[in-house]
């Protein structure tokens, strides 16, 4: 499973033996007679020794604290280092506001594009047989294995001034590189697996029978899609959208290559953080970073809720 950018969420299952075992288990009254009958420290071959469990849990907790909680706390402390007023001043700076707007816009575009593309691709993969299907499945995962920087460079190569379509675009006054279109394209590229990979297994499992039933009951193709297919995949779709959105807002590498770093114009939030930091505006940098951190936390909470829904369906 893929993780949301800033935090690396790690699910702790309270029922996992390691965790519950580390707590002293109170013996209920009605069981105490049985407990007395059995030897107190009976060794159960199915369970690890208490000290092993303790160490495993301690390592996990320490690791989480060191790599997740501590950095988050640092971001927050630094952001408010010069007080609340400075924090909000940093956030309402016009360049920062522009960065926030651009980030929201790029994320919105890539979410919409990925929903449309994701549903169509997942539908094709899950419900039809065609040659080249395995190739398509492999290609969908490609953005996860390619460095985002390379993705950015590809777009520069295609649409940059020296690129394949650069001359034509210049002649027709279309600006892609160093502008919103390229930022959106790069973001779409790095995020497009999220929706598809959530939908494909689900749609494959659900098959086409419900759709066929709807068709034979007289529903049109469109009605069938909106009344049968979409409700069946909506939680998985939302889950994919959430991951896609979190990644889109946090994307740095690919966007950095195509952005051109024009202050107040082509800087997204992560790029704005970098620029501020490089300009020694530490508090402002952390203020913007704190927004991204909050986004991550919200995403995480929504993710947990969605996972519960998905589980239930």
């Amino acid at each position: 499973m893929c993780s949301v950018q800033v935090t690396a969420p790690m699910k702790i299952n309270p029922k996992a033996p390691g965790i519950s075992a580390s707590l002293p288990a109170p013996i209920p009254a009605q069981l105490s007679t049985q407990a007395a009958a059995a030897p107190r420290h009976r060794v159960d071959a199915r369970e690890d020794a208490p000290w092993v469990r303790f160490i495993v849990v301690a390592v996990a907790v320490a690791f989480m604290g060191l790599f997740v909680v501590l950095p988050l706390a640092c971001v927050m402390t630094e952001a408010f280092a010069k007080g609340v007023a400075a924090y909000f001043a940093a956030l309402t700076d016009p360049d920062t506001l522009a960065a926030i707007t651009l980030t929201l816009l790029a994320a919105a575009i890539s979410v919409v594009a990925n929903v449309v593309f994701g549903v169509i691709a997942a539908w094709a993969i899950a419900k039809f047989d065609f040659s080249g299907k395995n190739l398509l499945i492999a290609l969908i995962e490609l953005p996860f294995s390619v460095s985002p920087v390379i993705a950015g460079l590809v777009f520069v190569l295609l649409f940059g001034l020296q690129g394949y379509f650069g001359g034509w675009l210049l002649a027709h006054h279309v600006k892609i590189i160093f502008a919103l279109p390229a930022i959106a394209l790069a973001t779409i590229f790095v995020t497009f697996p999220f929706v598809v990979r959530e939908l494909v297994p689900l749609m494959q499992e659900q098959g086409t029978e419900e759709e066929e039933a709807a068709l034979s009951l007289g529903a049109s193709g469109l009605t069938t899609f909106f009344r049968v297919t979409l409700p069946n995949i909506k939680w998985a779709l939302l889950y994919g959208v959430l991951l896609c959105n979190a990644r889109a807002m946090g994307e740095f590498g690919a966007v950095s290559v195509v952005s051109g770093h024009i202050r107040g114009q082509t800087l997204t939030m992560p790029l704005q953080v970098e620029t501020l930091y490089d300009g020694y505006q530490i508090t402002a940098a952390f203020a913007v970073a704190s927004l991204l951190a909050q986004l991550a936390i919200v995403s995480l909470i929504v993710k947990v809720v969605l996972e519960a829904r998905l589980e239930r369906d």
């Binding site: 709807a214 049109s220 069946n232």
Partner: protein, 348 residues
């Protein structure tokens, strides 16, 4: 509605799932499609329903070309092998679906829809389940809801794909009787698929036996059972004893000796004799022109018992039914003669 299927073929790649199928379904009848797994039953239903198209052939509904119409335009009620209920809709909404998706002009009012759904729920005797979701129902309940959903559109034809396939024997029996009653009440032309021959025999007006994409025989249950047209049908419907025999001068020989039965006009040569286990007569006295063998096992409950007999030199073991009154013991020699049988010349 009358359905005519003429020379319908359907291939998946090089594999012929249906091979020139011809079938007439009479108006108002309950027809069973019977055949082993992979014989093309579902494929045929899907073509009739409009979910698949044949490579060749014609499908006519009351003389009208059905292939020119989409699934939705055919007004065929289809009950899937695995129900295919809409999992995110309540039972009520599942049944109402076919009415709600009608074009605005033809759509009944909300009150009418409610009334229709309630009536159908009553018909399948599941009124109290209206607000449940499919995953909260038992298999038999899902089955009946799927049927109610198909009936909601007032279908001209009802197709049921192994309606009782996933249910246990007792529920199956109940539901099949219930389907029979429902059909005699509504008289909508119905085709149901099964690979349970007992089910087909009990419920259907006529039975269609399919094998490897072809129709082997069509007829009344009794007729198919008593006069199977091909070795496959004999073997598939009911239990069979099969003996490799040779026909010579209108007498039948097994292991080189005549067995005292007539060849019924079968040509000289190698053939297979088919008989039912209860059609083997046990002769009182030793006879040289009969089948004979040693009793290997006796089992069974009820009025008849099953006897395993190892025949002559080849040790072919056949199972015969004998009345309980017949005394015999393991190791005893029995002389047998088929009272009723069929001979099918071997194909070479």
């Amino acid at each position: 509605m009358k359905i005519s299927i003429a020379d319908v073929s359907k291939r998946f790649g090089a594999f012929a799932a249906l091979d020139r199928v011809n079938l007439e379904v009479r108006s108002g009848e309950l027809l069973a499609l019977l055949g082993p797994s992979g014989s093309g039953k579902t494929t045929l239903l899907r073509i009739i329903a409009g979910l698949d198209w044949p490579d060749e052939g014609q499908v006519l509904f009351d003389g009208e070309d059905a292939l020119a119409r989409s699934a939705g335009e055919r007004h065929v009620g289809l009950v899937f092998q695995h129900y295919a209920l809409f999992r995110h809709m309540t039972v009520f909404e599942n049944i109402a679906f076919g009415l709600r998706v009608r074009p605005r002009r033809a759509r009944p009012s909300e009150a009418e829809i409610r009334a229709r759904v309630q009536k159908l729920l009553g018909l399948v005797q599941l009124g109290w389940l209206a607000d449940r979701y499919p995953n909260q129902l038992s298999g038999g309940q899902r089955q009946r809801i799927a049927l109610a959903r198909a009936l909601a559109i007032g279908p001209r034809l009802l197709l049921l794909d192994e309606p009782f396939g996933a249910l246990d024997a007792k529920v199956r029996k109940e539901l099949r009787r219930w389907l029979r009653d429902l059909h005699s009440e509504m008289h909508v032309t119905s085709i149901f698929v099964t690979h349970d021959q007992e089910e087909a025999m009990e419920v259907a007006d006529r039975v269609v036996v399919m094998d490897k994409g072809r129709i082997e025989q069509v007829g009344m249950p009794q007729q198919v059972y008593e006069q199977p047209r091909t070795p496959f049908v004999h073997e598939f419907i009911g239990e069979s004893i099969m003996l490799p025999v040779v026909v010579l001068n209108n007498t039948v020989h097994f292991e080189g000796r005549p067995i005292g039965v007539d060849a019924q006009g079968a040509p000289d040569g190698v053939a297979t004799l088919f008989a039912r286990p209860f059609n083997m007569t046990i002769l009182r006295d030793a006879a040289s022109d009969s089948l004979h063998g040693e009793v290997r096992g006796i089992h069974g409950i009820g009025p008849a018992r099953r006897i395993d007999v190892a025949l002559g030199g080849t040790q072919t073991v056949i199972e015969i039914d004998a009345p309980r009154s017949h005394n015999c013991a393991i190791g005893q020699l029995l002389y047998l003669r088929p009272a009723q049988y069929q001979l099918f010349p071997s194909e070479f």
